[in-house]
């Protein structure tokens, strides 16, 4: 039957490996998957302490920026946008994998998503928390951010919806809200399990509160499934739209290096690319620390790696097309930016590092062994994350620092505040994520149970997660 599975998935999830290993009955499986929230491990405390420190740095540098002014960054004229926007685009991009995995793959009947979607969704939300901070932070007068929202002001003035920035506000806030709802909806049954498994009354109460009184009635399940599928269907277009809108922040400008029609698909691909890399970076340590090897198997790694390979190839294609169009346009400014300034200009080194990281790295994943080898996946993913950050830097800074009039050309160099804020935002992400695995069931227990049940007794219909006969074929 795997033959029937192949076409509609594109990646043969778990062709070689089972999606679940080890013999569990429902109870032990439940307890196993809940165990991270009952007892911590020393490693967690170390990381948590570290991320707390970084988060404090984040808060400190943000306060400093707002108190003194954007001048504490390295930005200048012509390079009026730099790190803040680079980070924004980077984080939004990372945020894409979550919805992609949980919603997109749900609609595509990808069974393997079951044990990783919760983690991916959480990652999305925390990435978006970071992402939504930066546009606010980079405002010269952040305290007037609400002027971007259409509300009846006594001034009688409104936002300008011809600008792509209000589009951003709409897109990112929508994406954040929908992801959050989707995530919580998925959590409810597991919160109920946590409620019923918790040792102390207090914990039972707390989880009970958030479980909203879920009792797994057949009627609840039916309606719940309907809503869950609906939300998935709504979230899927967002995966495409959000980064398309973000790309318009640049594409609607007439700046060489920004003004480009390929940007929306190109950005979406890059986004999912970096997001999947982040999933790997989070998955591998978790799998080890919490011994989740039996629910997060090679099948998952293999599938994600193949997706990354696909995205990497599409990204490489975009790079090539960009260069070609620059040459083909015959426009001297376009040609200068793409064919002269980036490859040979002041930021040439970064440009080539980016090319290697984003285009060469994923080629590893042609090799099956690399697709399932933890260390290689981990290193490669880190490389891709770095590469994608650099890509945004190249797009933003190298387009700005040398535009039309040579008289206004000027170099950009980040300040210590820029670096601290970048480090801080990564810490905040880690901080939130660590809290998540500590207090929230980080694997979708009910879905995994259905899966394991399916593996046990093929005949039980587990729609819409789909038939599992393929596993035995």
């Amino acid at each position: 039957m795997s033959a029937t599975v192949e076409p509609d998935t594109g990646v043969s999830a778990g062709a070689g490996w089972p999606l679940l290993t080890g013999q569990h009955d429902d109870a032990s499986l439940t307890d196993h998957l809940l165990s991270p929230i009952w007892q911590t491990r020393p490693g967690w405390w170390w990381l948590f302490g570290l991320s707390c420190a970084g988060t404090l740095l984040f808060i400190g540098t943000i306060t400093y920026t707002i108190a003194r002014g954007i001048g504490v960054w390295g930005n200048n004229i012509p390079v009026a946008w730099a790190y803040a926007i680079v980070n924004f685009v980077w984080w939004v991009g990372i945020g894409h994998a979550g919805t992609f995995i949980s919603a997109f793959l749900l609609l595509l009947n990808q069974r393997w998503r079951g044990s990783v979607n919760r983690i991916a969704e959480a990652m999305t939300i925390f990435a978006l928390v970071n992402a939504s901070l930066f546009p606010l932070l980079h405002l010269g007068r952040a305290w007037f951010f609400y002027w971007l929202i259409p509300y009846p002001a006594t001034m009688g003035v409104w936002p300008n919806f011809k600008s792509s920035l209000p589009w951003d506000v709409a897109a990112v806030s929508t994406y954040f809200t929908v992801s959050l709802l989707f995530w919580y909806l998925g959590l409810v049954p597991d919160l109920a399990s946590a409620r019923d498994r918790a040792a102390t009354l207090f914990r039972r109460r707390v989880y009970g509160l958030f479980a909203l009184g879920w009792r797994g009635a057949g009627y609840q399940w039916a309606r719940y499934r309907a809503a869950y599928t609906l939300l998935a269907a709504l979230a899927t277009p967002l995966v495409i739209s959000v980064h398309s809108v973000v790309s318009l922040d640049f594409a609607i400008a007439q700046l060489p290096g920004w003004h480009s029609t390929i940007f929306p698909p190109y950005f979406v691909v890059g986004a999912i690319y970096s997001g999947l890399a982040m999933v790997i970076v989070l998955l591998l340590p978790m799998r080890r620390v919490f011994r989740l090897g039996d629910v997060i198997t090679n099948a998952h790694l293999d599938a994600i790696a193949k997706l990354m390979l696909t995205m990497g190839l599409m990204l490489a294609y975009s790079y090539v097309i960009e260069l070609f169009m620059a040459w083909y346009s015959g426009n001297q400014f376009e040609r200068f930016t793409y064919l002269v300034d980036r490859p040979t200009g002041p930021y040439a080194v970064l440009y080539w590092v980016m090319t290697v990281l984003n285009v060469v790295t994923p080629q590893l994943f042609w090799v099956t062994r690399f697709r399932t080898s933890g260390p290689i996946l981990f290193i490669a993913s880190l490389g891709i994350l770095a590469g994608m950050w650099i890509e945004r830097f190249i797009i933003i800074v190298t387009s700005l620092n040398r535009d039309f009039l040579t008289s206004s050309w000027h170099f950009y160099a980040p300040s210590w505040v820029d670096w601290s804020i970048l480090a801080g935002s990564v810490s905040l992400f880690a901080f939130l994520f660590l809290l998540f695995i500590r207090f929230v069931p980080s694997v979708a227990i009910s879905e995994v149970k259905e899966l394991s049940l399916g593996l046990g007794e093929g005949q039980v219909d587990l729609a819409p997660i789909g038939s599992v006969e393929a596993e035995h074929a």
Partner: protein, 216 residues
């Protein structure tokens, strides 16, 4: 064993959800209401002055024309706060020894100006020009209200941008013959609907809503 939550918790849960919803909707609405209220704009609050100068008497009862004291209103952006010497001609004959006029006498002797408190405040990035408004037939009353009825003057209008725009979009509604700008409680001889457009044409009044009309 008994259930985790008592029976009444169902009601409690729903009630608290409702409260939350109300909060989310209510707070912004409340704020919007506040900025439109007179508390926010300090409207209607009489401003205490070093001298209890009574506009009700001077402008109202005695019918002294606004321009007598606010002399530069026709030729300068600022209407002009009268120099101390403006008070002297009359008050060298009436209320000579009034203790309330002591500051005036002191100012004349020392040459130190009287420190008045501003009543109608615009932000510094708003460049309002009195002369052009009065010369185009906008009455003092339109922005300052019935000063002749205020013994202690207060801000009578919201003076928000939206309020300015309401007139800048349709000026005809507020126009009167230039001779009548200082009249308090002015009522047009013919219907404003007819008079307004005529005056607008006569004084070349255009609707100016470009930002730099006021912000420079």
């Amino acid at each position: 064993m008994a259930a985790l939550f008592p029976r009444w918790s169902n009601t409690a849960a729903r009630a608290s959800l409702l409260a939350l919803a109300l909060l989310v909707v209510g707070v912004p609405l409340g704020l919007m209401a506040f900025v439109r209220s007179s508390n926010a704009s300090a409207r209607y609050e009489p401003v205490k002055q070093p001298i209890p100068f009574d506009h009700q008497i001077h402008a109202g009862r005695l019918g002294i024309n606004c321009v007598y004291c606010h002399a530069t209103v026709m030729r300068s952006p600022t209407a002009g706060i009268p120099p101390t010497q403006t008070c002297v001609p009359c008050h060298s004959t009436v209320w000579i020894n009034s203790s309330e006029l002591a500051p005036v006498r002191r100012s004349m002797q020392t040459g130190k100006p009287i420190t008045w408190n501003r009543v109608d405040r615009l932000p510094d990035f708003v460049y309002f020009d009195h002369s052009v408004h009065v010369n185009k037939g906008v009455g003092c009353e339109s922005c300052h209200g019935r000063v002749d009825k205020m013994s202690t003057v207060y801000q009578a209008k919201p003076l928000t941008m939206g309020w300015c725009l309401s007139c800048h979009r349709m000026p005809a509604g507020q126009l009167r013959p230039v001779e009548a700008v200082t009249i308090m409680g002015y009522t047009p001889a013919v219907a404003q609907a007819r008079l307004g457009p005529e005056l607008a044409a006569k004084y070349h009044v255009r609707s100016l809503t470009s930002c730099t009309t006021c912000h420079r």
